[in-house]
């Protein structure tokens, strides 16, 4: 096996192996478990760095394994895959640190971290999948690995949240499988091909292709939380904050959005999809989701639920970017995949901090929290400003490209949708900021677990990750024009996609 083949496998193994070992560890081996977690995360980051260097230079990384005649597991670490892989690897590192701090003294940590690692393994598999079969295998594995995390606390609410999560994701999986096998039957193995697989196969019935597209998008759309398939996301907020962070920024919703990207660009091909008339309905669904999610967020008092609906809205920016025909829209959508991840994880880290430190779960309890926890609230503010698309933040960069893409595709109404959403974002984030910074704090907090120690407002492991990711939110915007920013990578991918098309 050449290095081009084992490197993708190594990336997957770097979280699978520690995860399997952690399952077997007794509860009290805290140090060993922490060491395994961190070793895995750092190893993964290093391996991903190697992959990036290689792919930027034009190398090809991949692996094939036949399971049955006509059915293969294919791994392909191309530029698009690496966008998702890097996001996941970097954010996993931070989430691991955060989770170690958050779950200190909580029960069943071995089980938690075991499934946590399996989750990330599945995400890596989804990112590097080279065909629809492999994508599906890891997609369902993700469902199975996240369920124990959602129900981790074992309370009745957790069980209920878990049941709803399963109902949606398993049903979505069934739709996805139907679409994939149908496609396999029509056009052979669904290999992800630059420029679109179906564009190269003549003589396929357009109506059938449209039906299959609907099935596929419905299947991945459940995880991507597009309306009306988004109902599970607010319910899954019963999970501990690290799980919410992982689900919303790194793994599950991004997997769904990533699936939509792969299907539109590398199964159908953006030009072929346009000719089948598939892009406009997709854009409309995305627009509806953007506005609906933001509107629902306005009326949520529970902080995590408000953030959940915000995610519903924001992930559809990516879908909108995909549906806007043209390289500018593509770049906007792809770069928002990364930016939204960074911003949302910051917000969830902060929400978790408020809950763990002061017992705050509702927006109405956040009066004056800026004085008690200034650094956390600073990070929260940066994340919120990013969501609104304020200048100098990651969100601004995405929004700019998406707007340009909308006008280039002739869908000017989408610009109004984006602006409307920004206004709604301001409407539900600014009041929180106002409460946190301006209003006076109550006499005592709902449940103060962690008391301030000098300047340290909460545990270090809870404080540092959101600060880092908030810094990244600013960094990716300030250094957007450098050659190592997510924007540069998104432009690389779009160049290769549309270059293929133009030939």
């Amino acid at each position: 096996m050449t290095s081009n083949q084992w490197l993708p496998l190594a990336v997957i193994a770097s979280s699978l192996l520690p995860g399997l070992i952690i399952f077997a560890l007794p509860e009290k081996r805290v140090a060993l478990r922490t060491a395994l977690n961190l070793a895995g995360a750092l190893a993964k980051a290093g391996l991903v760095g190697l992959l990036i260097a290689g792919v930027a230079a034009g190398e090809e990384y991949g692996l094939r394994h036949a399971i049955a005649p006509g059915i293969e597991i294919v791994f392909k670490a191309d530029a698009l895959a690496l966008l998702f892989v890097t996001l996941s690897a970097v954010l996993w590192l931070f989430t691991t640190l955060y989770a170690i701090g958050y779950l200190e003294h909580a029960p069943h940590r071995s089980r938690f971290f075991g499934f946590f690692s399996l989750c990330v393994t599945a995400t890596m598999g989804i990112a590097m999948a080279g065909n629809l079969f492999t994508f599906f295998v890891f997609y369902e594995l993700l469902t199975l690995a996240t369920f124990p995390l959602v129900v981790h606390r074992g309370t009745p609410q957790a069980m209920r949240g878990g049941s709803i999560y399963l109902a949606y994701t398993l049903a979505g999986g069934a739709a996805l499988l139907a679409g994939i096998v149908w496609l396999d039957h029509l056009a052979g193995p669904g290999e992800f091909t630059q420029g679109g697989l179906l564009a190269t196969i003549p003589g396929l019935d357009p109506l059938t292709l449209q039906l299959i597209f609907a099935l596929l998008i419905a299947g991945v759309g459940v995880k991507a939380a597009i309306v009306p398939l988004h109902g599970w996301l607010p319910q899954a907020m019963v999970a501990p904050a690290p799980v919410s962070a992982l689900l919303h920024a790194v793994a599950v919703v991004k997997a769904g959005a990533f699936g939509i990207v792969r299907i539109v660009y590398e199964i159908y091909g953006v030009e072929f999809a346009q000719s089948l008339g598939l892009l406009l309905p997709l854009a409309i669904i995305a627009a509806v989701t953007i506005l609906w999610g933001s509107t629902r967020a306005l009326f949520q008092n529970d902080l995590k639920k408000r953030l959940a609906f915000s995610t519903v809205s924001q992930v559809s920016y990516i879908v909108l970017g995909v549906a806007l025909f043209g390289p500018l829209g593509t770049i906007g959508g792809l770069v928002h995949l990364v930016h939204q991840g960074i911003m949302k994880i910051t917000l969830f880290f902060c929400a978790g901090n408020y809950a763990e430190t002061l017992g705050i779960h509702k927006v109405s309890e956040m009066n004056g929290v800026g004085r008690r926890m200034p650094l956390t609230t600073l990070a929260f503010t940066i994340g919120a400003l990013g969501m609104m698309g304020a200048p100098l933040t990651a969100g601004a960069v995405s929004k700019a490209w998406l707007s340009d893409g909308a006008s280039a595709a002739g869908m000017d109404w989408a610009i109004w949708v984006l602006w409307g959403s920004s206004l709604l974002n301001a409407a539900y984030f600014l009041p929180i900021l106002h409460r946190a910074w301006i209003k006076l704090p109550p006499p005592d907090w709902p449940h103060e677990e962690i008391h301030p120690l000098g300047r340290r407002e909460t545990a270090w492991l809870l404080l540092l990750p959101p600060l880092f990711t908030a810094a990244m939110t600013l960094g990716v915007a300030l250094f957007a024009d450098s050659s190592i920013s997510p924007l540069a990578w998104a432009r690389l991918i779009a160049d290769r996609e549309y270059l293929n098309m133009a030939e």
Binding site: A66, I67, A68, P69, I71, H108, R111, F136, V137, F138, E140, L141, T143, L144, F147, P148, V151, H152, R153, G154, T155, M159, G162, S163, L166, L170, A171, G173, A174, L177, A178, V181, W182, D184, H185
Partner: protein, 483 residues
């Protein structure tokens, strides 16, 4: 190869030998004899596999006497797969039963298991219809004995019901054999395949109907499933596992052989006929899943799950005309289900034994103290739901592919819905296991279970998943069978 060393004969002789020895000797020697015997049988199968791989099939005339008075044993790719499944699962279950019955073995458990295995091996190796009748009876009687062994009134009632059903089934089968012999003067399956044409007399059609219906009764396909839940749900866990994983597969295997072999001309002449088992299978999936979702006791849940999963096997019959895909799907499903169902019953047995309650609610909080058993149950559930990367998923993929190729999209809908329904009852158990135990369902742990109890379940479940990843040789074996 010298007839003395022919693995075909030893596969039948060995279990007969050790079963007799186990019957004569004291109870405590049973496990050792069984393990040694099944181990040797497994080696025979591997040797046979080598033969079949190189020659395509293998034959053996018992005693050197020619047909039709002599009995011919024959093995091809399909029999090999079933033999492997039987020996593999039996070995794991023998290990499990050894620990499970550490205090009180039901009388005659080991000899009956041996006779059951002898009958099953003979069934997979027989080439003529009458010998198949004898093996069917042997398997049936041994299975009834296992259900009844050492049990109370409920088990006796279940055994009686099972016995009457199985006797009606084999009686119908025998009558069919009699009619066939009267019409053609031979009972050799391979010869009959060439002799029976679409213009066969009414007696042959009647015989076909009787034999196939009799086998449906033995495979517990809806509406003949009434005997299965009490029998499988009430027996001790190792017995339930043997029955659900292996015994019902034997009669299904025979049904498939008859459909594709001697009666091929008849079934092809009436294309609508194939929809009947498929429709019954779809009904079985829906009804069995519904009863499993509503089941009050854990083993009943798993038993009704068997009723549902057997339905999948019959969905392939309208699709058999389009090449090897449907056949591969069916056999892969049978194999994966055999492994998964054995794992599930084994895990359930451990959960019940340790938890002290046989109700589904008794599983609450089990994730804390029986993680391996629960993980095995979950893995087995993944196969039953048809989720990747398991054998059940690959079987479902092949089934959907075959259904699309044959233009029968309703089968796709049934298969996908069945997976979702299975998800409901599997996760019913898993959710309870993760639940934080409340004051109501805190059951004290009598003792930690023997490691073997948990790890056999895990091994079986892992097997059902690994088949999904490395199915290529298995599928090649099945594809080599002439449909």
């Amino acid at each position: 190869m010298s007839p003395l060393l022919d693995p075909l004969a030893w596969l039948i002789l060995l279990p007969l030998l050790w079963a007799t020895l186990a019957f004569v000797a004291a109870d405590r020697h049973g496990p050792a004899l069984a393990l040694a015997g099944i181990g040797a049988q497994l080696l025979c199968v591997i040797a046979l596999a080598g033969d079949v791989a190189s020659h395509g099939s293998n034959g053996h005339l018992a005693g050197g006497w020619a047909e039709p008075l002599g009995i011919r044993l024959v093995a091809d790719g399909l029999s090999l797969v079933m033999l492997l499944l039987t020996q593999g699962v039996a070995l794991a279950l023998a290990l499990y039963a050894r620990s499970y019955f550490s205090r009180a073995t039901p009388p005659a458990f080991w000899p009956l298991t041996g006779f059951l295995l002898a009958g099953m091996n003979a069934l997979f190796l027989s080439g003529d219809l009458f010998n198949l009748y004898v093996t069917l009876e042997l398997v049936g009687l041994a299975a009834v004995g296992l259900v009844a062994a050492g049990g109370g009134a409920a088990q006796i009632a279940a055994a009686l019901r099972y016995l009457l059903a199985t006797l009606v089934g084999s009686g119908a089968y025998l009558f069919g054999v009699a009619l066939i012999y009267g019409s053609y003067g031979t009972v050799s399956a391979s010869l009959l395949g060439t002799l029976i044409t679409a213009e066969a007399p009414l007696a042959v059609w009647l015989a076909g109907g009787l034999m196939l219906t009799g086998l449906l009764l033995k495979t517990a396909l809806l509406p003949f499933h009434f005997w299965l839940p009490p029998a499988h749900g009430g027996a001790p866990a190792p017995v339930s596992a043997l029955l659900s994983a292996l015994v019902v597969k034997a009669s299904f295997y025979l049904f498939l052989r008859l459909w594709l072999g001697p009666f091929a001309a008849l079934t092809e002449a009436l294309p609508g006929l194939a929809q009947v088992p498929a429709a019954l299978g779809a009904a079985a999936i829906l009804w069995g899943s519904w009863r499993a979702i509503r089941a009050d006791r854990l083993k009943m849940l798993v038993a009704y799950s068997t009723v549902a999963q057997l339905g999948y096997l019959f969905l392939i019959f309208p699709l058999l005309g389009t090449g090897a895909l449907a056949l591969q799907a069916g056999i892969l499903q049978a194999t994966a289900h055999g492994l998964a169902k054995a794992a599930m019953f084994v895990a359930a047995g451990t959960l019940i034994k340790v938890g002290g309650s046989d109700r589904v609610l008794g599983v609450a909080g089990a994730a804390a103290h029986l993680p391996v058993s629960l993980f095995a149950f979950a893995l087995a559930g993944v196969t039953l739901m048809g989720l990747p990367p398991s054998g059940g998923f690959l079987a479902k993929w092949l089934l959907i592919d075959a259904a699309l190729a044959a233009g029968q999209p309703w089968i796709v809908v049934v298969a996908l819905s069945g997976g979702l329904l299975a998800g409901i009852y599997v996760f019913r158990v898993l959710r309870l296991a993760f639940r934080r135990p409340t004051a109501h369902d805190d059951v004290p742990l009598p003792q930690r279970p023997a490691a073997l109890l948990e790890w056999t379940a895990f091994a079986l479940a892992a097997g059902s998943v690994l088949i999904g990843l490395g199915a290529a040789p298995l599928l090649a074996l099945i594809a080599g069978v002439q449909p």
